[in-house]
Structures are given as structure tokens and as C-alpha cells.
Symmetry: C2
Subunit: 255 residues, 2 copies
């Protein structure tokens, strides 16, 4: 007997946010420190309850603004704000020790930002490189020793949510123009290449990369300006083109 809401079991519904950006050549995620039990003092993904008359995506956008001051890119105002999409839903019984909580995780891709101050409390929110938050993946990625940074896993099942979000970002920038969501409104080919290198954790050939992205129709639009750089030929500035799916795609190098 489907859909008999008169006798439904009581659930709490929340949104959790995987907010990713690229800072100093590293893929970073936004984490907040928990002030109350359970997992008091541990880092967790930002999130909160969905209000009773609020859409899921609206709840995610509201939590994002509350935690970071970031605004979500609407369908019209391209090249400003962040990209937001639904990621997956996590509802294992026991994922929250207090009660049954179903969390609809969302993925946010944002350009580099000043360190956020959530609710005025700067100590409780930070950007953390994802390879310090996720034990698996590439254990010795690119950087030197990172002892004492972030040994403890995230609270609840947030490590798995973060891993799913990172994998989603890694695969989506192959076939879509979403990598530009990590960039400011105007950017160079080199900056875009460093986004791909940080998200994938690989080194890409600058020559072939330049030829590919400028040859993919609708991906990049030159703005006419150039950048003054430190030591090197000035680079052309681009903004994101109208294309959302890339053809041919940017293929992630594999083993």
C-alpha cells in the first residue's frame, strides 16, 4: 500500500555539503569543527536541517551562504557564484547515534575564496586538503610529509560522503565544463590546467592541454585581455563559454 502518509515513520532530513575549491595547487574541502556531541571536537562537513517548506536544493544553498557567504550560481548569472548539484543521499540506520537522519548530500564547486568565518567563529571552519582528510586514494600524493595535520577521520559517515563528492568532481570535469567553476570569472589556460592537475592529482602536458581546451568548441571564450605575470610571457584571458558538455572530452590519464 504505497503512499499512506497518515502512518509514516518519523525521519529527520538534513543536507550536507561537500564544498570543494583549489587552493595552492591542492584540492581542498570545507570542514567545520563540531561543538557538541556526538563527535565533539571532530571535523565534519557543513550542513543542517531542511525546513519543512523548503526545497532540498534551496536548503543546500541556504546552508552554503550561512557557512561561507558564498552564493550559488543561478541559471542566468553565469560565471559568478558557485556550482551546486545534488550528490547522493545517505540514510543508513545508525549513521547518527541519536535518531534516524537521512542526509541529502550536495556538491559545491567554488573558486578560491578568503578563509570563511562561519557565524563569526573563525576557528571552527577551515579549508583542508582532501588528501589529508581521506586516508585512501593516493597515499603519497604530491606534497612532502604532512604529519600532524588531520589524522582523525571526519565525523559520522562524512568521510565516505567526501570521497563520493571528490570522485564526482573528478569525473564530471572530464565531460563537462565544470572545471571553470573552480576559476575566477576571467582566467588563463595555465590556471585552468592547474585546476585539472589539482583535482586529478596528476601532471598534464601544458602544450597538449592548451591545444585541447582552445580547440574544444564552446569551452573557452577569449576576453581580449592578457595577464601580467611573474616571469613568463603574458597569457590570454578567457571566460567560460556556453558549452556545458565537452566534445571531445578532457580524458583523465590513467595507469
Amino acid at each position: 500500500m504505497p503512499y499512506d502518509p497518515s502512518a509514516f515513520p518519523p525521519f529527520a532530513v538534513t543536507v550536507d555539503l561537500v564544498v570543494l575549491t583549489v587552493r595552492r595547487h591542492a584540492l581542498c574541502a570545507l570542514v567545520v569543527r563540531r561543538g557538541e556531541p556526538p563527535y565533539q571536537g571532530r571535523w565534519a562537513l557543513p550542513g543542517g536541517f531542511v525546513r519543512i517548506d523548503e526545497d532540498l536544493g534551496a536548503a543546500a544553498a541556504r546552508e552554503l551562504t550561512e557557512e561561507t557567504g558564498l552564493h550559488v550560481q543561478g541559471p542566468d548569472d553565469r560565471h559568478t557564484g558557485a556550482h551546486l548539484e545534488q550528490l547522493a543521499t545517505y540514510g543508513d540506520p545508525g549513521r547518527d547515534p541519536r535518531m534516524r537522519v537521512v542526509s541529502v548530500a550536495h556538491l559545491v564547486l567554488a573558486p578560491d575564496l578568503p578563509t570563511p568565518t562561519a557565524g563569526g567563529d573563525a576557528d571552527s571552519v577551515r579549508w583542508a586538503p582532501v588528501d589529508t582528510l581521506l586516508p585512501s586514494g593516493q597515499p603519497s600524493g604530491g606534497g612532502p610529509d604532512r604529519s600532524g595535520e588531520q589524522p582523525a577521520l571526519l565525523a559520522f559517515d562524512h568521510s565516505r560522503i567526501l570521497a563520493d563528492g571528490v570522485e564526482r568532481a573528478r569525473s564530471k570535469i572530464e565531460y563537462s565544463s565544470l572545471a571553470t567553476a573552480f576559476c575566477p570569472p576571467e582566467f588563463t589556460v595555465g590556471e585552468l590546467r592547474r585546476v585539472y592537475e589539482a583535482v586529478w592529482g596528476v601532471a598534464l602536458d601544458p602544450r597538449n592541454f592548451h591545444r585541447k581546451v582552445t580547440g574544444t568548441p564552446g569551452f573557452l571564450v577569449p576576453t581580449g585581455g592578457t595577464t601580467t605575470r611573474q616571469g613568463g610571457r603574458p597569457a590570454q584571458l578567457f571566460r567560460a563559454g556556453g558549452a556545458t558538455v565537452l566534445n571531445p572530452p578532457m580524458l583523465r590519464p590513467e595507469v
Copy 2:
């Protein structure tokens, strides 16, 4: 103040199922006729409430078995049962006129089956070609006139859920071996090609298709047997190989 479950808003959480199969060269979805208002008499996707101590995936598998008798493929028993994965979550306020219902949609890919009899009521469940359920997409796909088959849209927001599930299936068979989930345990290259043609709604070159799928490592494993066919050279029988991601992928032809 995240995670204060003592004052959570009350939500109902359900699972809805997009069950797809290929019958008579057409991609079909499982739909059930609603017996009560709202949308009484209209077709809808199968689904139901998540129990209070039940995982989301387990709820989807249970509903699938209750509605179709189908069993879900476990991690070990390959080549038997259906493929199930989470699709997306739909929680718009007002999607159910009675109360706030958040539905975690799941996608099921199944081989061709006898027409199910849900709860003994054969009139209330059927396979319907997806192009008779979705007005958009390719309006004049391949078949002749289909007047009077399924003019009314699905109940609730199930048309959108179905469209999302179909698009997920169309893109996933490009990069994974999931097309074999539409096939019986042993199948021929021609049967697998007809699955791709039905899901994508295109015609594929039999020669190139054969060369591609047999050349992709881990996709197909010959069983040694052959099929007696009606008018034509007997075909080799294959079963699904261990590969889950296809390299190179099966690229969907575009404009």
C-alpha cells in the same frame, strides 16, 4: 546549529523505483496503476515507505521484490538478478499534496521478464515503453503511430524521475558494462547490440559493434556455446566479464 534532532521537522521518506528493461527492441519501464487518490487511476512508479530501521538500498530492494518478484544482484552472485543503484532524491514541497514526502529514487536494470503480477493484481502493473511515458526526448522515435496508448503523464513528479533514470542508464552503458544487466546470463553480441540500440534509440553498425565489444578487455567472456538461430549463422555465446568500467568506452553516436 546543525544536528539537533530533538526538534526536527517531520518528514516522510520513501523510495521510488525506475525499473528498466528491454522488450521487443524497446526500452520499457515498470509502472503501477494507483488505486487511491491523489492521482487515482493514473500510472506511477513503484515505491513505498522506508521502514524506520531499514537502509535506503534495502528498502528499494524490498519494494522491487514485492512488486516484481525480482531479486537484486549481490556483490558476489554476478550475472544473476538485477542491478540496483541510487538515482537521486526528490523533495520538492508540494510534490505530494498531502504532506512533505522526500523520495529517494533508485534505478534498476533488469533482463526481460514475464509480465509481473504485483500482489496478484495483474491489471495494476505493466511494462510500458518509455517513449510512450515521456513526451519529450525523441518525439517520433522509431515506431509507427502510437495513438491511445499512454497519453497521460505519470503521477506526482514521476515523469521527471523516470526521465532522469533513463538518462542515467543511457550514459552509464557508455562507460560501464551495465548493458549486460539487461541481458540473460548468456547472450550473443547481437543481443547486446540490440540493448544498446533500444536504450539509445539509434542504429549501430553490427560489424564495428562486434569488433568493439570483443576487443574491450574484460567486457565479454565466451562460454564456448553457440545459439541456434532462425535464419543466420549461429552466434557465439558470451557472459559478462569482470570489468565494470569499459576502456575504451562505447561512445554514443551524436548529431
